[in-house]
Amino acid sequence: MVKHLTRKLVSGMALAALVGIAAAPLEASAATLHMAWAQDATGLDPHKQTAFSSLRLLELVYEPLVRVDASLKIVPAIADSWQFSADGKELSFKLNPKAKFQNGAAVTSADVKASFERILDEKTGAAARANFLSIASIDTPDPASVVFHLSQPDVPLLTAMSDVNAAIVPASEIAAGSIGTKAIGSGPFKLDKWDPNAKEVLSANKDWAGGATGVDGIEISVLPDETAILAAMRTKQIDFALLNDPLVATLVPKEASLQLNRVPVLAYHVLQLNPSRKPMTELKVRQAISCAIDRQEVLDTASLGEGKVTGPLTIPSMATDPGQLFCYKRDVEKAKKLMAEAGFADGFSATVIGANGEPPTAAAEAQVIQSQLAEIGVKLDIKMMELNVYVDAWLKGDFDMAVALNGGRADPYTMYNRYWTKAGNLQKVANYIDDTLDSQMQKGRAETDPEKRKAIFAEFEKHIAEVSPWIWLYTSYSYTAQQKNVAGFVPTPTGTLFSLSKVTIQQ
């Protein structure tokens, strides 16, 4: 009977296998790219969405004025050219005459003006609004020209405009109030269908100003378990996938037919201390924690070494050698000395919070840090929370320490002004500011000379590593996996999938 029972199961599986094989050819249409990711977009309004998957989807449908390329250089998108005035208080754009929305209408300066006015309107609830507050007024001398008048010089503004959160949407759709329910952009793909948490269907936009796309369409499936994504790639059901967990990504190269693309990203893994809570109020305690942590070991254990130890500046053109920063070489003796000087020779207890699966390495990072800090007498209690619960606590600054993966931007000012300026929106999260940090940020914002900017931010980095409100750990990779017959994908540090517009599938 046991035999009988197993036979039933085996024949059931065989049936499944047969049906599986039978079903596969139906899917194989050469011109459609089958893609998978574990987390789906959360909405269609490009001005409101900030989730990673939402941005990746919307970048294929909407276009901003400019884009950043793989080396983070600003390149044309809807705008053909742009120029800052001599005093840095005027930014003008010439639009691409061929740019067209997917409803057939040309993209005009009126659409640009309406889009930015929508972002700046508080009723919209656009989180990116904070990046555009220097815009005083917008002029549209002719349908193909836009001039932004700024209240103060704002060099990072251009980088902020390259984000899909600053996408140009049709003025007519804004008036109709249909942004977010219909996705009408000027990008390479049209969104034909969106079934949240299940799938997206995209088709090529024949009128795209950027030329013809390499595939006729993209079908995105949401497969919540990354092991299942890998399994589906092995059986050739999926051509292209986004992976988050290094534990899964590192298995991809072991498959002969699969290729793993990885690129260092701007986002950084960090241990945020809360300097408003005792004893992290003490400079020496924070420094001791920084000295007691072996960043390379956190990276090696939690991410299987997939990444690079980093200082606060993760942008390649700005980054300095992290080995030069304060205590980037582990020094337990120094840490113990600092603890004793601060009056905590016996250590203390604190709680560290983390979000489940966000990033997938969060729990592992917390555990390695816990064991490292135990050596200087700091007893950490780990609390892993559901993402939303974590975000709530994080925003309220309701934590002693937090492991986080914070997003990066192509410009250090845009990336950090929210935390490390006196008026920063997230000062209540960072809970630390001093005059040096604030003045360096303000100088960096106004400086137009790239070399001088770099020097300013290098000073900023050196100072913040020394006062250690946060312990920057490492940057990891963004992973995409693909079948080897998929050609033309260019991974970029921002994580954008925009180059899918030129990807082809070879037979």
Partner: protein, 319 residues
């Protein structure tokens, strides 16, 4: 009849209880639709922006006002609009329900086809080695967490044999029956595994009970063949507990199989409600839980009725 009416009369009470619990609990969980949408970027919002978004998501009023509004809608058959889907909650649920129903039916089918014969067989071999084998197999089935089984199945098939039923886009039964079956068979086996084990155990013990009953002994003494005793006389009576167990288990499965749906990427009720919780789509959570609770109660009522129909000794309405 009065029994049926009395049971049905309780339904609205229980459903209101369920809805209040969900309503309050989901709002007590930290984080809301705004943080779910914006993540940490929500910290960049000005108070005015926040207020505008709260009004958009319908979470700008105290919970009892929201509840009153929701209850009023419910009386008109309106479960509200899902903020993630931008569509009426009931539409979204009804779109996902066929899959959950099909998966539950398929799992039950597997459980009964495997479990009942195995249980009967074991009962006839009471305390022999083969009986022990079946019982141990059944217990292993009952004690395997389904996510372990699901991961093992996927890994073995894809890495070992290079096959896997189509993941991703789900094909409804009426559109593409073959593909549909291919997608559901593994999840159904995963869920049916433990289910079959319970059915095996219950049919075995029920069969043993019945075989020791007077009328079976009478039938035997009258010279009925062993085969006819088992299949004609004993089995129908032994089936009563099997029906009860299957019904209750089926009722649970109709609530969606959160973890299995997650691993096999099936857009069923379980994942719908989990995603709704994670995205703080309050209307959808309420709608789903209410829908699941309603189904559960209906199935239980049917089970009780079937129980009474199968066993004339039982009179409903007493406790």
């Amino acid at each position: 009849m009065t029994y049926l009416l009395r049971r049905l009369a309780v339904f609205p009470l229980v459903l209101i209880g369920v809805s209040i619990v969900v309503f309050v609990a989901i709002r007590m969980v930290p984080g809301d639709a705004i943080t779910a949408m914006l993540g940490t970027e929500a910290g960049l919002l000005t108070p005015q922006q926040r207020a505008a978004l709260a009004a958009y998501f319908g979470i700008d009023q105290p919970w009892f006002v929201q509840y009153g509004r929701w209850l009023l809608g419910l009386l008109h058959g309106d479960l509200g609009i899902s903020t993630t889907y931008g569509r009426p909650v009931l539409d979204v649920i009804l779109e996902r329900f066929p899959l959950t129903l099909e998966l539950a039916l398929l799992s039950m089918l597997i459980a009964l086809v495997v479990g009942v014969p195995a249980g009967v067989f074991a009962a006839t071999r009471n305390e022999k080695l083969s009986d022990l084998g079946v019982r141990i197999a059944a217990m292993i089935g009952q004690s395997t967490p389904n996510f372990v089984l699901a991961l093992l199945i996927i890994y073995t098939l894809s890495a070992g044999f290079g096959v896997l039923p189509a993941m991703g886009e789900f094909a409804p039964l009426w559109q593409d029956p073959l593909r549909n079956l291919g997608q559901l068979i593994l999840p159904a086996i995963t869920l049916g595994f433990a289910f079959a084990a319970s059915v095996t155990r219950i049919s075995r013990s029920a069969m043993l009970d019945v075989l020791s009953d007077d009328y079976v002994r009478t039938a035997r003494s009258k010279g009925a063949s062993a085969r006819s005793v088992i299949w004609r006389h004993a089995l129908p009576n032994a089936l009563i507990p099997v029906v009860t167990l299957s019904g209750i288990e089926f009722g649970y499965l109709l609530g969606g199989a959160v973890i299995v749906e997650q691993i096999y990427a099936l857009p069923g009720l379980g994942r719908l409600v989990l995603d709704a919780i994670l995205q703080r789509d309050y209307a959808l959570v309420q709608g789903c839980v209410l829908f699941i609770a309603f189904n559960f109660m209906i199935v239980n009522l049917l089970v009780d009725l079937a129980y009474a129909a199968l066993d004339p000794r039982i009179r409903l309405g007493e406790n």
